[in-house]
């Protein structure tokens, strides 16, 4: 008797275990006491900590959790979450380069126009608003957070060694065009042989491409990388300068790149507003006063900047939209810019704010960052990104790397880039 019972129990247990294992996939959180939990997912420190504190004080029933991951991982995860229909945070940041990829599935995102986003249209830089609305007027995919703008950061001590001017106005005057920038690089390299002119050919090419109105794709989202004369012009110029030894051949944002900045292996770097923070961190406090900021060749441009979106799959879409609105408000953006993160606001009113306009960075030889970045941010033409922009960019970056590694000359690298891009886009 006892034995049979034991066997039955065991049998039932075995069956139950498999059921538990199966059902463990479902389920969700339930809030009993009326408080709701909102998750905010970003890909680096957006400077939201103090703002979230502030929000909690006015909204005691909202608990906010931050989820921060690495740049590419963050966006790939979002793809997975969108594809599987669950797991996305309530408020998710999307960087401008990745935004077009999600444009194709905009129905998976809350239309913020339904939550009063259009009331804020006048606050935003026009081109930033256009990016967020995907060219339509009735769909608002996200609230713009920051913009990148574009400048060039340079090492004053190395410029002095090469006999070049060190004053930022005079330095800006050295390179009205990219041709002049590379020519200055030649002059620099003739005098200072142990240092490179720029960090990475990839970053230079990206900056140039971000200054075009249409780069790899036309307004109809057709790939034009092989026919747009600008692409070939920029690629060839970068590749030639690289072949001539102007690049420090450091893969952007890698460990080597950070060490390269620390050891001052290059005289200049393309510098969106957010890059200043990276340079400062990599170079360290002891390098304060060696770097300064000048204008970018080719006249203005934008690189980077993000949007806060609200995926439809969230349980508290209305509250999430409200939070996204708060985190991108004028007061919030100003606080972030003047805080340690220093991301450049995307709102006209904040850019015009005397406190923002007059901001300067001590570490960068008191460079007037407010003036440098804010003024160019306002005069920008938007840079159109195709839905497969990233897929087009990678082969061109790879081809430039081949030049850096001495495996291809500029002409061969160009052919390779075209062939690889065509393959990657099919």
């Amino acid at each position: 008797m006892g034995r049979t019972r034991a066997r039955r129990t065991l049998g039932a247990l075995a069956a139950a275990t498999s059921l538990v294992a199966l059902s463990a996939c479902g389920g969700g959180e339930a809030e009993a006491d009326g408080t709701i939990t909102l998750t905010v997912a970003t890909f680096s420190d957006f400077g939201y900590k103090p703002l979230i504190e502030e929000y909690r004080r006015t909204h005691p029933n909202v608990v906010i959790k931050e989820r921060v991951s690495q740049f590419d991982q963050h966006h790939n995860q979002l793809s997975t979450q969108i594809a599987s229909g669950g797991g996305a945070a309530d408020v998710v940041a999307i960087e401008e380069g990745y935004l077009p990829k999600f444009r194709a599935v905009k129905d998976k995102f809350t239309n913020l126009a339904d939550h009063g986003a259009n009331d804020r249209r006048g606050e935003y830089l026009d081109w930033k608003w256009q990016q967020a609305t995907l060219g339509t007027s009735d769909f608002v995919m996200g609230y713009g957070t920051d913009v990148g703008s574009l400048a060039v950061c340079y090492r004053k001590d190395l410029f002095a060694r090469a006999g070049l001017p060190t004053d930022r106005a005079a330095v800006s005057a050295l390179w009205p065009t990219w041709d002049a920038y590379f020519a200055t690089g030649e002059k620099f390299r003739a005098k200072v042989k142990d240092k490179a002119w720029f960090d990475s050919s990839g970053n230079i090419f990206t900056a140039m491409m971000n200054q075009t109105e249409f780069g790899f794709f036309d307004a109809g989202d057709r790939y034009i990388g092989d026919s747009n004369p600008k692409v070939k012009e920029f690629f060839t110029a970068t590749a030639r300068a690289t072949a001539a030894g102007q690049s420090a051949n450091l893969q952007p944002f890698s460990q080597q790149w950070n060490t390269g900045i620390k050891l001052g292996r290059m005289a200049t770097m393309t510098c969106p507003a957010w890059m200043t923070g990276l340079i400062k961190t990599a170079a360290g406090e002891s390098a304060a006063g060696t770097w300064d900021i000048a204008a970018v060749p080719g006249g203005g441009g934008n690189w980077g900047g993000s949007f806060l979106t609200v995926p439809k799959q969230g349980k508290h879409v209305k509250e999430a939209a409200e939070l996204a609105d708060f985190l991108t408000s004028a007061a919030a953006q100003k606080k972030i810019f003047t805080g340690p993160v220093g991301a450049l606001p995307s709102l006209v009113g904040v850019l015009d704010d005397p406190e923002v306009e007059g901001a300067a960075q001590d570490w960068f030889s008191q460079a007037p960052t407010g003036e440098i970045f804010a003024s160019s941010a306002k005069s920008l033409k938007p840079n159109y990104r195709g839905t497969k922009d990233q897929q087009a960019r990678i082969p061109f970056g790879n081809a430039l790397q081949l030049v850096e590694q001495g495996k291809a000359d500029p002409a061969a690298a160009w052919d390779k880039a075209l062939a690889e891009a065509a393959k990657n886009l099919r």
Binding site: R7, L10, G11, A14, A15, T17, S18, A21, L22, Q70, F71, D72, Q73, N76, S79, T80, I82, A83, K101, F102, A104, V105, K108, Q251, F253, S254, Q255, Q256, T259, G260, Q390, Q391, I394, N398, A399, Q401, L402, Q405, K407, K423, N424
Partner: protein
């Protein structure tokens, strides 16, 4: 070490028990059911679903597109990147697995002897397994750094190379560096498995070999190796599966996070290629075709291994 002897059965054998006909009681099936249920959900279903996806034009975000039959597979066979990835996978697999298993045998052989503080040594061998693969990859990427890497420094210090090697730039150098990461992580693990097998070898075999005057090496070849053959087979199959699915090491070796495996895909393995198409380009159809081909490659290589390892020894 105690000599194990099995007591011979005493007493007369009873009448043979009537053999139960299979299929009467549901209980045994119920006991094995959980595994098969789990396998059906997490093994068979994804496998078949992947096959289904591979036969379609399928965007990861937009979902199912039109039926394309075997077009994704045909495209794969025409894709030069696929051949590169296949070569890279096999090359890194051989470069890492063969020395790794030989080294593991040597380590196990050493550990099998009477050492002082034996347990400490045995525990230390497993330390690389405790460290997360991400940390290992990041540390090794720095060791194999072009500009300030320790490996380049040492090689230059010894006068073996003139200029620093750009480890990620070339096929041979990147494969070598990645293989080192794999070996670092898995040699100790395999050594412990071998050690366990070696300890189970009856000691009297060694004693008789010693009496016959066999040298250490001969004893190892003629006694130890044949005795641990099933274990060798097991590690070979497991390393094959692991080696052909290598992902984290090559993915993190290049700090771009875009699964390109270098500017010319010189260290893009099949899983890296799968990740690139599936999770970066969102081309789920093509990625599924890659994963099915990878599945077949592993099956073939595992079968070849099995045949090689099972091959009867010539007397």
């Amino acid at each position: 070490m105690a000599v194990q002897t099995r007591p011979l059965p005493t007493g007369r054998p009873g009448p043979p028990r009537p053999r139960r006909r299979p299929g009467r009681s549901p209980l045994p099936y119920l006991f094995v059911a959980p595994f098969f249920l789990l396998f059906a959900v997490f093994g068979a279903y994804p496998l078949l679903q992947t096959l289904w996806v591979s036969l379609h034009d399928w965007d990861r975000l937009a979902g199912q597109g039109e039926w394309v039959g075997l077009a994704n597979f045909r495209r794969l066979l025409d894709d030069a990147d696929f051949l590169t990835a296949l070569f890279n996978t096999l090359s890194i697999f051989l470069l890492s697995t063969v020395p790794q298993l030989l080294a593991a045998l040597a380590v196990a052989w050493l550990l099998d002897r009477h050492l002082r503080a034996r347990t400490v040594w045995r525990a230390l061998v497993l330390v690389p397994q405790y460290v997360s693969v991400v940390a290992v990859a990041l540390v090794f990427s720095q060791l194999f750094g072009r500009d300030y890497g320790v490996v380049n420094g040492a090689l230059q210090g010894l006068g073996l190379i003139d200029a620093p090697v750009d480890w990620t730039a070339d096929t041979w150098s990147s494969h070598l560096a990645i293989s080192f990461m794999v070996m670092w992580r898995w040699t100790g693990y395999n050594a412990l498995i071998y050690l366990a097998a070696m300890q189970a070898v009856p000691r009297e075999l060694y004693e008789s070999a010693a009496i016959d005057g066999a040298s250490r090496l001969l004893t190892f070849r003629k006694v130890t190796l044949p005795a641990i053959r099933p274990t060798l087979l097991f590690t070979v199959v497991i390393s094959t599966i692991g080696g052909l699915q290598l992902f984290a090491e090559p993915f993190l070796f290049d700090q771009q996070g875009n699964a390109e495996g270098g500017a010319e895909h010189q260290f893009q393995t099949l899983t890296l290629m799968l990740y690139k198409y599936g999770f970066i380009n969102n081309d789920a159809g093509y990625a599924s075709a890659v994963s099915w081909v990878l599945f077949l490659v592993i099956a073939v290589v595992a079968a070849v291994n099995l045949v090689l390892a099972r091959r009867p020894r010539r007397p």
